[in-house]
Symmetry: C2
Subunit: 345 residues, 2 copies
DNA sequence: GTGAAAGCGCTAACAT
DNA sequence: ATGTTAGCGCTTTCAC
């Protein structure tokens, strides 16, 4: 039982395909009588337009492509929902894809999406993808980057204010009396990650604390979890006087907590902890892990609105298309004043 | 700059569109000379076939539709990846959608997907969706249900063995000496949830323990979290002698842990805990929350393979298309023997 | 206000 | 071994 086509509706009602199309799309000036007849036939027969045919004919699909690093990750979960809600208001559907931060995969994804006639893109940057992004732009396909951007490219983007939110978190640690603050991050060429590290060093400078490279651990991207836990344990082992640690991503936070648990250290007595990008577990895990919560909803909504505006579907109320959004600092039990005179090294 | 079409490749090479199509699809018998020339032109011009046109012409899209309750949830994360990996081997793309366990939404999703010419479906059942599923089957659109099924319908499905894995978990609690075991579940008409509750009662029967309805708490679906926490606290309050509790879903487990934390109870001293459907947090949260881990990967892989087999893309090695997969019982610190003579009420 | 005809890019009969 | 033709379901001139 094949679905019924527009042409058949035309036959049934004695109208021409043109007229039916016009009625369906609310275009043209069709007499009310004919209009009603067609609408009735559509209803009676459960007619639904074939989107594929529409896409082929019109050249656009009302579909947006969303490429994130990990479709199974916690950042994506919240993001997906809000993007979908916003896009749906304007009749857009979403195709989600994971790049796994892999350049080849990301390239294939873009190629695939473009041949599905995707109308616009929300993309989490992958190192090296600049050319493909520029190419989309050259072909007048709107792109909005989220979570990061390419400093050398003039492409709209929406992300959290990485630098300042790290500095806020650092201030909090330092004001609580911590001086030997470790920083665990990942070795990947993404601006957001680099900005977080910069925030760490800027904070030390601001408070006149000496930076010590031994306190900074850069784990290789996608390192085996067991090895990563060991590496963090080693960091603790060789820096016994370290009294606080900043994890630059939530999965590093998890690895860090496992390390701390295995070492039998107590939070915050032995070590204060703060982590970039909140997770439910941070709230539940005694004594509560402090974190920098990304405004995921706002990022998703802003990015979608920006894209819709670029597609001419929506008025753009924003002044710029390079947007950073402040994060939310959540202080939990993992940071505690340790009664040391303030700002004295 | 529009992408180049097959016809243009034909013009460039002086071949006919048919020949180009044949070469592209590795069909027919084309002379090596022509073949090479066409392939070269394809490469030189960066030609890529327009999937939309192919779909319209052939009537299928090489796209599978996946409808789950919550695209942001933890079950989905692991599932999505494996489905994608399996499907990709056979050149299929995936469109993911959230039903939010809402019948209307699920209906719209199916309608939408079918007009996108989706070739097959993996669907997490929503109460009341039977007719739409049967309709797909009537239209020869293959469907595989995951995580649940409709007992009255003959539709292929893949899910964890809910009954037996709950009974295993219960045995573990009972053998550890617990007699007053609470069961917190959700009031939704899904077979998997009902089977879990049945597992609870069957276990009590098996061990000759008296069932007590006061120990069973059915929370309304999508109840406000704060209220749910309060309800669980009330359960504890009015059953002071309850010495263990079984949460029938992972999000109920989280709610339960919050309740327990707020009441200041100690796990497992005051109360033993086990939860259906593992979460990373259960491993990290001292003393470790015992859980029944769903074989998500295996469910996803099996379901996808089944669907691909139904599409004729893959040999089916399975005996049946109604598959239950055993779960993995993970005992952590939340269950501990409490030195009571065994199996004496 | 309505219809005829062309065509989006591709594939599949059916020639030759 | 390769080309001609028709048509998937729809929209869009352009005519009347």
């Amino acid at each position: 039982m094949k679905p019924i086509s527009l042409k058949e509706i035309a036959n049934i009602t004695g109208a021409s395909p043109t007229t039916v199309s016009l009625v369906l799309n609310g275009k043209g000036r069709i007499s009310e009588a004919v209009r009603q007849k067609i609408l009735q036939a559509v209803k009676d027969n459960g007619y639904e337009p074939n989107r594929i045919a529409i896409s082929l004919r019109t050249g656009h699909s009302n579909v947006l492509g969303v490429i994130v690093d990990d479709i199974g990750g916690p950042f994506f979960g919240a993001l997906a929902k809000i993007i979908e809600v916003e896009a749906e208001k304007f009749g857009f559907r979403i195709i989600y894809c994971s790049s796994e931060n892999n350049l080849e995969k990301a390239r294939e994804l873009i190629s695939m999406l473009s041949h599905q006639l995707v109308d616009g893109y929300i993309i989490m940057p992958v190192p090296g993808l600049q050319d493909e992004i520029l190419n989309l732009k050259a072909n007048h396909k709107p792109v909005v980057l989220i979570d990061g951007y390419y400093p050398e490219l003039d492409i709209p983007h929406v992300l959290v204010d990485n630098l300042n939110s790290v500095m806020q978190g650092m201030s909090c640690l330092i004001e609580a009396g911590h001086r030997k603050i470790g920083f665990v991050t990942v070795d990947i060429d993404l601006i957001q990650i680099k900005e977080r590290l910069r925030g760490y060093f800027e904070s030390l400078k601001k408070f006149n604390l000496k930076a010590d490279d031994k306190l900074v651990l850069k784990l290789p991207y996608q390192m085996d979890k067991g090895k990563a836990v060991q590496a963090v344990k080693d960091l603790f082992g060789s820096n016994r006087d370290m009294d606080a640690v900043f994890f630059s991503t939530n999965y590093l936070g998890i690895i860090g907590i496992e390390s701390i648990q295995e070492l039998g250290l107590s939070i915050p007595k032995d070590i204060a902890v703060i982590c970039f990008d909140d997770l439910e577990i941070f709230r539940l895990l005694p004594p509560g892990i402090s974190s920098i919560q990304q405004p995921v909803l706002e990022i998703g909504r802003t990015a979608t609105d920006l894209l819709l505006a670029m597609l001419g579907k929506k008025k753009n109320h924003l002044q710029t298309d390079k947007i950073t959004i402040p994060a939310n600092l959540i202080i939990r039990g993992s940071i505690k004043a340790i009664n040391v005179p303030k700002f004295v090294e």
